[in-house]
Each structure stands twice: as C-alpha cells, then as structure tokens.
C-alpha cells in the first residue's frame, strides 16, 4: 500500500503529484488492475501503471514465452523462453516499483467461466489486451452493470485502438485549460464591494495608480465615473452588463480614457492598465454556470444517488438555489500588477469568501447525507476541493460495448467518407481501420490464424479478408442496401496492408498505445482530467489519431 508521506522533495512521486495532487496519488495507490493478456501491449500498459504506484495488478494469461516474444516484449529475457509468460513478465514489472503488488494466473481469458469473470469484477479496473470479441463482450456485460471501468486495447501492425467502457464516469476536476477566472464583476460580494467603494483613483499618487490591481480599475474611474457605471449610464440602464464583444470593446475604450496623460511620467505605459484592457474580454463575462455543470446539477442522479460525487452535487445544487444561481466562489485570483497590500487584501478576501461558501456547501452536504441515510462520508477537505473546482465537474456516460451496434455506426461513417482519389490512395480513414480490425478478428475466428501469418501470399489472404469485410458491412446495413459506397472506401491497398501486418506486435506501437491507455486508466482512477470518450484509433503511418463515441 502506498503511504502518502508528507511532501519530501526527494519523494519518488513528486513529479507526478504536481499533476494530480496527493489526493490523486492516493486514488492511484488504492487502484487494483486486472489485465487479461501479457503481450507487449499489456506489459507496456502495466509499466506506466506500476511506475505511477497502483496498489496491485493481476495478469491473466496462459501463453508461454516464445522466441518472437523476446523480440517484442521488454519485460522478458531470452532465458524466459518456455516459461508462463504471465509469470515471467510479472517479475520484471514488480521490480519497477517495490510498493506495488503483482500476481498472475496462468489461465486463458478465453476459458474463464461466468463465475470466474464475476470474481474478477472486484478490481478497480479491468483491461483486456488483444482479446477476442467474445472475451471482450463477456467481461463488458458483467462490468458495465456494476460500474467497473473496462478498457479494451488492441494493436495490429501499425494500428492501435482503445475502447473505454463505463456506464457513468464522474470527474471532480477536468483541469480545463485556460478557464475563465471567477472574478464576480457582475455580482461582487460584500468585502469586494467595500474595497471598490473605498478606492478613489482621483485620490492616488501616480505610483499608487500604476500599482492598482486591474480588477479595481475595471470598476473605477478617475475624472470620470467607473467604467461599468459609465457603461450603464450610456445605456440608461442601471443593471446593464456587457454581453457582447462590442460591449466589452466599449468598456475597453472607457478604461483607456482613465489613463493620466497630463503628468509627465503618467500611466500611459503602465502595465496594470494594459492588463486591465487585456483582461476585459474575459473578466466582463456574466458569472453563469456552464451547460455541462448545469446538466449535472439537474440530473436525476443528483436527487437520488448515494455516491459521494452525487451527494456533493446535490449539496451544490442547494447552494446554487440559495445563492442567486451562483456556484461557490472559486477563490483564486489571476496574478496582476499591484502593490503587495492591495493584491494580498484582494487575494485574502477571495480566499475567505470561497471558504465561507464551501462551508455552506458542507452544511448542505451533511443535510443530504442524513436524508439519504449515509454517514458522514464526505470529509471537509474533499468538500472544499470539490467546491474550488465546481465549474469543472463533468460526467461521461457510455453505452454497453456491443460490437454489432458499433460496427453499424462505423459502417455508416465509412459510407460518408468523401475524399479525392489521391487521398483515398494515400491514407486510410480511422473508421476503415476499425472495420479492418474487426474483419481480421473474424478471419482469425473462422480460419484459426490471422491474415498474413502462415506463408500464404498476401494477395490470397487479402481476398479472404475482403470477404469478412463484406460480411461485416452486410450485417450492418438494411437488407438490399447498396454496399458499394462502403466497399469503395475500404480499398484493396488497405486490405492488403492488414495482411502485410500479419498481426505484427510492433514494440513501438505497443509502447505508444500502452502509454495512452495507462494514462486513461489513471484518469478513471483519479476522477481527474477528461478521459477519451470512448474509442481511440492510432495510425502509425501518419501518426494521426481519431476519437469516436460509439
């Protein structure tokens, strides 16, 4: 079990804790991963999870190490040939991090019974690596209903795919890049209003004016009334607030007119005015609740669920109701040119207001906990952190993995591909690769081997693979529907390429896809950052990727 030490700069996890916090690290430290398969894609995925400090992992695979594994899998040594692959790779993986527990079972995932599958459902996450569709579907069915994340990853030559299967995934912090600062210019709280009232730009020295934080400049004027007041006066509307870009440009003009150009070394070039002007577009936005957050607060889960995420969301909803439709104040200020005392006064009042709001949310949380008959499951710390990130909570919903339904969607996409002949010849669309991956799986199921793997010329296997492609398309469309438009987009070159690949397990592709998959699993474990929703396809030819929601 990973112990969360008091921060020590020599701590092994320092560089990653800076990305997901001690709380994120603790979540990782209580994550147990079950991995079906032990090929290089599996071990490359596990590598990053072990390094990150998961609690434990469990590998299920009956394969034995062969010569070809030595040329692909870093977690095997030439001396391991003949050994159970799950055991041999396990040893070298646990070496990466002494606090992680690893174990294995030399069973074939294909041979697992329903009962076996249900036992494995006690893991925090289950990962199926290059398994058959039957195995994927068997696990998906069980795991979907009990809300255990299930990740299916595959690679074949230069192609890799990841499918994340989870009914509902809640995100406590999306870590959205460039979020709007929560300044409340349209709804200043009491202490902020007081400070604004005290501020008189007329009664300042040049030095003080140059060091006035821009948030105050947005409110105040010098020889003229406040920019906002002036705006309102011009509109003849006391409650007016800029709502369009041109409104905000007006505010910028008003602001700039406040610079003192009379004195010699006035404020013409002062940074705080520049910052104020630059900030107008983002600062003068109505404080509203974003659509994703709104839909979370009004969802039915909010009113009934006993999951911690939903308990706090309900508390949040009650707070919003009681506070004029506002979320708890985030409490952080962007940096801005200012003298120390005014900046820290602002920073402190924002921090204190945020704390007060969070305390109110905590009171509501306790109410909700009582109503729904759960104990005090939410700690103060968790509540405050949730409130701070209230504008970046998200929820993702997914359907049960269903290859036949998903192929219908893929085939529909393939029908819609419209590219010129040259592009069609040079690049293969991601949807086409997805269909080809399924066709290769069918080929294996029906012929006992993958295309391009037993010395049969590629051209012959290509014909057989094309038959599977056609069958999949036919199954996905209405009877008598014309399949030519789809077939046109699944070129002979692409089919031949799949045969050329011959199920090659290229280490670099395993490493790429394993790297992405491991971080997705960490996102699922920590409820931070937004996971792929829900299918990712990588093409090593172009190093381009696509995401589908299937």
């Amino acid at each position: 079990m990973v112990t969360s030490k008091l921060f020590d700069p020599s701590n092994r996890y320092d560089r990653q804790v800076r990305l997901w916090g001690e709380d994120g690290q603790a979540s990782i430290g209580s994550t147990s991963a079950c991995v079906l398969g032990s090929d290089s894609l599996a071990t490359e995925t596990l590598k990053s999870l072990v390094l990150a400090g998961v609690q434990s992992f469990y590998i299920v695979d009956d394969a034995r190490v062969e010569q070809v594994d030595i040329g692909q899998n870093f977690f095997l040594h030439i001396d391991d040939i003949g050994r159970p692959r799950a055991e041999a790779t396990l040893e070298k993986l646990t070496e990466l991090n002494p606090s992680v527990l690893g174990s294995s079972s030399c069973q074939s995932p294909t041979a697992l019974t329903q009962e076996d599958v249900e036992k494995l459902a006690t893991f925090s996450v289950v990962v199926a690596v290059n398994q058959t569709e039957e195995v994927d579907a068997k696990f998906a069915q069980v795991l979907y209903d009990i809300s255990v994340p299930f990740v299916c990853i595959k690679s074949f030559g230069l192609i890799g795919t990841i499918r994340i299967c989870i009914k509902e995934h809640t995100i406590a912090n999306s870590h959205e890049e460039n979020p709007r600062p929560d300044l409340r210019l349209d709804a200043p709280f009491k202490k902020l209003t007081e400070m604004i009232a005290e501020t008189d730009l007329n009664d300042m020295t040049i030095e003080q004016l140059r060091h006035t934080p821009y948030i105050l400049l947005h409110f105040k004027g010098t020889f003229y009334p406040q920019p906002l007041e002036e705006f309102r006066k011009q509109r003849n509307d006391e409650k007016a607030f800029p709502t369009t870009t041109s409104d905000r440009k007006e505010i910028q003009q008003i602001l700039l007119s406040f610079r003192r150009s009379k004195e010699d070394s006035g404020t013409k070039d002062s940074e705080n005015f520049d910052e104020a002007k630059a900030a107008v577009m983002r600062a003068f936005q109505k404080t509203t609740i974003g659509a994703s957050v709104k839909s979370i607060l009004t969802s039915s889960q909010c009113s009934t669920s006993t999951q911690p995420f939903w308990l706090i969301c309900e508390a949040l909803r009650r707070f919003v109701d009681a506070n004029n439709g506002l979320l708890p104040l985030r409490g952080t200020l962007p940096d801005m040119t200012s003298d120390s005392s005014r900046y820290t006064r602002l920073a402190t009042m924002f921090h204190e207001k945020a704390l007060a709001d969070a305390q109110e949310v905590l009171r509501f949380t306790r109410e909700v906990e009582k109503e729904r008959g759960v104990g005090d499951v939410i700690s103060e710390e968790v509540c405050y952190r949730f409130c701070k990130n209230a504008d970046r909570i998200r929820v993702q919903n997914g359907d049960l993995l269903d290859y036949s339904r998903e192929t219908k969607e893929i085939v529909a996409k393939i029908r819609e591909i419209t590219v010129d002949e040259q592009t069609r010849a040079e690049k293969v669309d991601s949807a086409t690769w997805m269909l080809l991956m399924r066709a290769a799986g069918r080929f294996k199921k029906e012929k006992g081997r993958f295309p391009g793997t037993n010395g049969v010329p590629v051209s012959i296997d290509a014909q057989d693979l094309r038959k599977r492609v056609e069958a999949l398309i036919k199954e996905s469309v209405k009877e008598n529907e014309d399949i030519q438009p789809m077939l046109h987009n699944v070129t002979d070159s692409a089919i031949a390429e799949m045969c050329r690949f011959g199920a090659a397990e290229l280490h670099v592709i395993s490493s790429y896809v394993g790297g992405i998959a491991s971080q997705e699993i960490i996102k699922l474990a920590t409820n931070q950052y937004v996971p792929i929703d829900n299918t990712f396809v990588f093409d090593g030819h172009t190093q381009e990727s696509a995401t589908f929601k299937l």
Partner: protein, 430 residues
Amino acid sequence: MVSVDPLATERWRSVRRLTDRDTAYKVPWFNPGPKNFEAVQNVKVLVIGAGGLGCELLKNLALSGFRSIDVIDMDTIDVSNLNRQFLFREADVGKSKAEVAAAFVEQRVSGCHVTAHNCRIEDKDPDFYRRFSMVICGLDSIPARRWINGMLCDLVLEHADGTPDMSTIIPMIDGGTEGFKGNARVIYPKMSACIDCTIDLYPPQVNFPLCTIAHTPRLPEHCVEYIKVVVWPEQKPFEGAALDADDPEHVEWVLQGALLRAEKYNIRGVDRRLTSGVLKRIIPAVASTNAVIAASCALEALKLATNIAKPIDNYLNFTQIHGAYTSVVSMSKDESCHVCNGGRLPIEVSSTYTLEELINSLMERYHLKNPTLETAQRKLFCISLLFPQLEEESKANLHLFLKDIVADGDEILVSDEVLARAITLRINFV
C-alpha cells in the same frame, strides 16, 4: 501443400512482417526484403539523454532491432526520476544515468550493444557525431537542442554546385514532453526546418521582474525568488556555498526565509513543494507521456532505417489533458535561419539604425541572453566578467549609428551562450 510461416520462429518476426513485404503506403525507394532489417541491425544510432525520454528510447530502439546504440548523458540518478526513468532503481541513485541505462538494456535485450557516454554533448567532437546514421534527442534543454542541431548542420558538406551532399545528412529526431503534453519532430539538417528555424515555438522562460520580487511581492513564488536572488547572496549561508537546489538543506533554508517573507506580506501558499519547484524550475512529468513521445520518435527512427512507411512531415503535437489528441504539421524551413544557411546572414539596415536597435532585434529574433558583437577589427559590444574593461565602451557604443561603425557589406560576428556557434551578419545599408 501446407503453407508455412517463414518467420514462425524468428525473434524479430513483427518488424520483418513490415520490412519483408510490399505496401501501397511506402516511400518510393522501398524495396521489400530482408535487407531492410539488416540495415536496422547494422546502423549506429545515437540517443541523447538517458532520462524520461531516453530510457524509453533505448528500450524502443533495442526492441525494434537496433543493436548499435550510443547514449550520452551527464546527469546522475535522483529519486524523483524513478516514477518514469524505469531503467533505474533506488540502489542506483547517485550513479551515472548513461551508464546504468546502457548496462540495463544490454543485459535485458540480448545481442543489443549500448555504449554509454557520461559527459556533456559539447564534450564530443564532430568526428564522434559523424559516425551515426541517426540522432534521437530526449533533451530537457533548448540550448542543448540548438547545440546538437548546429553540430549536425555543420556536418553537412556541400557539392561544388552548392547542393548538400546527402550522404553527410544525419537525420535528427527530437522529442520533448511536459506534463501531459509533448511533441516529436523529424529534422533533415540543411534540408528541412531545423530547431533554429522554429525557435519561436519555444515560449520565453518565466522570469519574475526584480522590482516585483524586491518591492511588491504578491505570489508565493516571489517570496522564494527573493530569498534566492537577494537574501542568499547577502547572507552567504553554508560557508558561502552556491545555492544548490538539489541539496535538501539549502532548500530548507530558502523555505524558512520564504515563509517569513510571506508572513510579512500576508501571502499564502509557500510550502516545500512550491519552493523546490521554483528553485529547480521543476517540470511535472509522468511515465505515460514519455512513453508516447519516445514511441513516436522511435517509430520515425524505424521508418527512416527501414523505409517501411513514410516518415511524418514533420512536427507532431500531442496532448492528453482532455481525451487524447495528436496532430502533425509541416514546419517550414526559414530561409533566413543562420544555422541552416551556412552561417552568413545578410541583413538590411537603414542609415539611422543604431547598434542598440540591432542588438535588441537580434535578442528578440534569436532568443539571445547576452550577445557579444564584434567586427574583424574590434569588439563592438561585450558585457562579460572576463572583459570588465569593455563594459563602459560597450554601453557608449549602443547609441552609435551602424553606418558610422561598419561599411556596406562588412560583417559583424554575433555570439551568445545560447548559440551553438556565432552568427555572421553581412550588413547592407538601404
């Protein structure tokens, strides 16, 4: 007749599926066959850096069939490396990264030879770099990137007609990561966009203004910087030793000072993590991003060595903050790039252009820190502890018009710590 897989027991079966068989998605000069894989096994490649990217690169190259790999890194192993630099163990802390990494890969991947160089890249001469077919960089510093970029450009010889001798072009694959973002690019020195052609891609380093640190601190970072740049030099703790951000005692000393300053100004947020982050300019890092970018780089290396697929053209961006996203853009060669263009840069100036204006424009254009400018006859501008006597004259020269210092067609040599080698400007008055 029963078909038999010719590669059934071949260790390198997966790579050979691609090298031995034809494809519609090839580079025009691809000829399927075993020779392509022989090429992989026979070329010498150089990996620069044995850290987050370097460890992954060594693994990826070894498991793609490369077996003559050199790795160069001057650093030693630290505990904070262990969350991603997976060739190292706790018992290796303090040892040379290059040496431990090389030994590990050799032991694990039989038949692969990895030669370690525990030194700076600048310690190696052109003859060293000339030996390699490819250079793959996993560096964490822009000046280092510029240096190796300059070195590889310098190795390119020209035919009599001025065109580059292709046999002297050593492709450079460069990767970089930060948190959940990364990039990978392929550079053909003198032929395609180089590091300096696209120097503006790199954002300027965040430096807090001294007046803020000294007089109007607002952020916890300002408190730490104050102790670092003002208090430490004044008080000279630890018997006058230089501030070593890797020494926990030094970090503790700075932390205590920063806490006092923060208290004085009522600033929240100073703690040990923030302090060490500011002092070491720590960049957050995880194993997964390094895995992805190193895989991207190694995939390109495999393509270049075997021609199994087209290399990317030529700059890949990756981010995994929201979902996962990659895109490839084609960066253009800058025809006025001093590194790509044999080092002689024509520059047009008006008659009222001053030395100061020239220096400012060069600093902005090339991200210089403290340039020295000289002609064949004299040093025009040089602020250096090595030549204190030149400071006064240099400052006075700033106001001079260029037309009074040099003649039309004259050359000015510009050198700076960030430049691999000096830029030669050829002045044209217009």
